[in-house]
């Protein structure tokens, strides 16, 4: 057909050329789509395999660790001194340090974040929201190392004016700074949840003579509650996993205490400490970081799942 087409009159040649062209073009498009599909699938699988790989490595190394340290000791011992002569492997001091700093962070970011979210979604005129939101999101873009030094050399001395007994390294200062860091997370997600509350609900409130504050607090806020809880849990999970700020400013001293004025060590800062120190690879002391890491992983994983569930439930039912 290809050879004979040159003998045909001009009009038919172009006709057959066109049909051949469109046939080739169809197969080309189909093949291209398939290739693109496979490439995209591979990209998606990279994240799955990475996650699986990390979990497997953690599990394997953690098993090594628990061959030598009983799980019960790990969960109940109140001291964490794997790097000392008298070795203890109780996760509790690290856990308490993590929870202490994270809860301080939440007690800063949740009230402040929710107030800002309500302001942005219900009160702020559109132009102001356009200006304020990017400013707020810049907070999330500041490198955590900067936050860490900010906590250590600025916030701690300031706080020492108020609490003279505050030690140079402590849980309070990095906790507060971490709270500022996760502020955009709380604000942004909460504001999204508030804004998708149907306009009809607000109007229903206004039509009964409710003021703006009453509508915001007694109708919009409860309607968005599960979305807001999800954002807080996500922020909590982020605070638990935060490393640099606490590694720099909290003191890296495993300490089973609820006193925010004392130095503490979190799970993350302990991992930094060991992986950057001169602990030989493969020793029991080194393997501790995997046991700590898997504890951390379980925590953040559970929190993320809860948050995801809440958000899904919220956006499928309330966000109509």
């Amino acid at each position: 057909m290809n050879g004979s087409s040159t003998l045909l009159p001009v009009s038919e040649t172009t006709e057959s050329n066109r049909s051949r062209f469109s046939f080739n073009r169809d197969t080309y498009v189909v093949t291209r789509e398939k290739v693109v599909h496979v490439i995209l699938l591979m990209c998606a699988l990279v994240s799955v395999f990475t996650t699986l790989g990390i979990i497997l490595v953690l599990l394997f190394q953690t098993l090594e660790f628990f061959k030598e340290v009983p799980l019960l000791d790990f969960l109940t011992d109140t001291q964490w001194t794997p790097l000392f002569q008298d070795k203890h492997f109780g996760i509790l001091p690290l856990l308490s340090g993590t929870l202490l700093t994270s809860l301080i962070a939440l007690s800063v970011s949740v009230p402040l974040g929710l107030i800002i979210a309500i302001y942005l979604s219900e009160y702020a005129p559109p132009f102001l929201r356009k200006v304020l939101k990017p400013f707020l999101e810049v907070l999330a873009g500041i490198p955590t190392i900067v936050y860490g030094y900010f906590a250590l050399i600025t916030v701690t001395p300031l706080l020492q004016n108020i609490f003279p007994s505050l030690s140079g390294f402590n849980a309070l200062s990095p906790g507060i700074v971490m709270g500022i860091m996760i502020l955009p997370l709380v604000t942004s997600l909460s504001e999204d949840s508030l804004r998708v509350v149907p306009k009809g609900l607000r109007e229903g409130g206004y039509a009964l003579g409710a003021s703006k504050l009453q509508v915001s607090l007694s109708i919009v806020f409860p309607s968005a509650f599960s979305g807001i809880v999800a954002s807080v849990i996500l922020a909590f999970s982020r605070a638990i996993g935060e490393t640099m700020i606490v590694a720099i400013a909290a003191g890296q001293l495993p300490n089973l205490t609820a006193n925010p004025l004392q130095p503490v060590s979190t799970m993350t800062s302990y991992i930094v400490q060991v992986s950057q120190g001169d602990t030989p690879y493969g020793t029991l002391a080194y393997n501790t970081i995997f046991a700590v890491a898997i504890t951390l992983f379980i925590f953040t994983f559970l929190l993320n799942i809860i948050s995801f569930r809440l958000r899904k439930r919220y956006f499928s039912s309330g966000g109509d």
């Binding site: 559109p126 009809g200 609900l201 229903g204 409130g205 039509a207 003579g209 409710a210 003021s211 409860p222």
Partner: protein
């Protein structure tokens, strides 16, 4: 035949702009007490906008400009020192889509009382019961007052919204296509209810359903492209309209 009394609601030379869009053009209309007035007209003719003037629901839209007088019992609700919350309490509203709050049935009806500073528990309980009875919903929900309002059917939700509006004891009810999102049976119930309610309330109802307008209203106002074309007794409008455009609309030739 014509009894001179002060109209419950009135607009004089009312113009409303959304930015550059002239949505309501020079509308003058009187609505007497305890009348049901139907606002009809094709979509986008301004009837909903007109309805929402009376409880100042248009205030929340950016770029709205209102000129002229909007009177409630002789007082201008925009220019006098009436507080907007007070206006909304006296002029209740039922929306097109049922919008119960995600609270219990009881809390939904009690909400208007609570935001208006009433905390007497006994009074609230009595009012909730009275309002639900007025909205013909009491028998269906009296054993489930603690249940979420969202579990009710669409028709029940709409009657709940009516009960909620009645609880704050308004004198006027604005209804923006209150039955359009409902099935025919629930719709008929709402109509019956309107018939009952007009003994006590002045009712303004926007509707796309001509039969509904003919059945429930005493007077009908026909809006077209932001203008009030004709306002008369419902019978007159439907049997013998003066304007050709009204005739064309109600017989379904356009709109």
């Amino acid at each position: 035949m014509t009894i001179r009394q002060m109209p419950a609601l009135e607009t004089r030379n009312l113009n409303l702009h959304y930015g550059t869009n002239h949505a309501l053009k020079n509308i003058s209309l009187c609505i007497s007490e305890n009348f049901v007035v139907a606002l009809i007209g094709p979509s986008g003719c301004g009837k909903s906008t007109y309805l929402r003037l009376f409880n100042r629901m248009n205030d929340m839209i950016d770029g709205v400009r209102i000129d002229g007088d909007v009177l409630f019992n002789g007082k201008d609700i925009y220019k006098s020192n009436l507080r907007v919350e007070h206006v909304r309490k006296k002029i209740g509203m039922v929306f097109q889509k049922p919008n119960p709050f995600p609270k219990t049935i009881f809390e939904n009806v009690a909400y208007g009382l609570k935001v208006n500073g009433i905390s007497n528990k006994k009074f609230i309980e009595e009012t909730v019961e009275k309002s639900l009875k007025q909205a013909a919903l009491w028998e269906e929900v009296k054993d489930n007052l603690k249940k979420s309002a969202l579990a009710l059917s669409g028709g029940q939700q709409q009657r709940l919204c009516i009960a909620r509006a009645l609880a704050v004891e308004p004198s006027v009810l604005l209804m923006d296509e209150p039955a359009s999102a409902l099935d025919p049976l629930s719709s008929a119930k709402i109509e019956e209810l309107i018939y009952e309610l007009k003994k006590k309330y002045t009712i303004l109802i926007v509707t796309h359903n001509m039969q509904q307008a003919a059945r429930v209203s005493d007077k009908t106002a026909f809006f077209y492209l932001g203008q009030l074309i004709e306002y008369n007794d419902t019978k007159q409008i439907f049997i013998n309209p003066k304007e050709e455009r009204t005739q064309n609309y109600i017989t379904g030739r356009f709109g």
